[in-house]
Subunit: 98 residues, 4 copies
């Protein structure tokens, strides 16, 4: 299966169950709210995630207010959630944990 | 007048008239949509604006998708738009123009 | 010719002549000193160049003091200057000009 | 004592002894080499340190190659090491540890 194929509902549900804090929204996106101690840590997370996203050529929808970063992921080409979204989500979780 | 005082409606309206693309929303925030050629330029704008915001201790609400950055400014302490918001807005306009 | 092949002396010399401010050092690297108005602009340049470098999987040697960024490029795998170095140099020039 | 006063030799020596990896060089700077797992983490460190440095109005001399960041601190106004250098050094250590 190509990383560009939309994941079927069961595969996606099973994948999200193994992750922490990511939820499938009514808009078809998977979303998570990240919280950090302050703006410096929040923006440090964004700077690292930006490097990864640009390299993957797969960019998040994200919003930031002070110590909070709300991320939503979706594959616009495939019109759904693909393996690329799960990969970027997993990398973001690693960054936030480190 | 302290930079922390809420601007009265006329002062704010006059100030916004001299700026480009900033509008007062129903939620009391001033907001602007910035567009760049790609993600690299959009995030480069955010990186510079983050340095300025952290130094001012005055942080934006902002959202990014690829080449677009939506910014909303508000002074939570003062519960309104203050001179600090106008200063940050003006600096962002400079950054986006450079 | 692969982008990983070391450029011969004449090709490199001709390429550098068309660029602005890049010089071949005794250590075999091509180097340039970038100057900006302040730290914010210098670091904004670095943030954008970092996104490009990570995507190319080709990273600069660079040093920063306040408004100054000294960049040196070299292809360690190929043990010389390759087309990748010229591409990254050209992108950096574009970033600094924008 | 103002944070802009040059620390005397004993005070500086005692302070450095309590820190990890910072050394006083012949050039009068205090310096440390930071190593990270990859470029993303190294640049994430720089992005956060840049926010702190700009806010303090006290900027490092630093160089980066891939996963390595070499930092040197010095107070040019005071022509020596001041409390500001120690503060920035301590914040960098915190960032690198987090």
């Amino acid at each position: 299966m190509s990383s560009d194929a939309v994941l079927d509902a069961k595969t996606l549900r099973d994948a999200l169950r193994k992750m922490r804090g990511w939820e499938l929204g009514d808009d078809g996106r998977i979303a998570k709210e990240f919280r950090f101690v302050d703006f410096v840590e929040a923006f440090g997370f964004m700077s690292r995630a930006a490097l990864i996203a640009e390299k993957m050529d797969h960019h998040p929808e994200w919003a930031n207010v002070y110590n909070r970063v709300d991320v939503a992921l979706f594959s616009h080409d495939a019109k759904g959630i693909t393996d690329k979204d799960l990969q970027l989500a997993a990398r973001m979780d690693e960054l936030a944990a480190s």
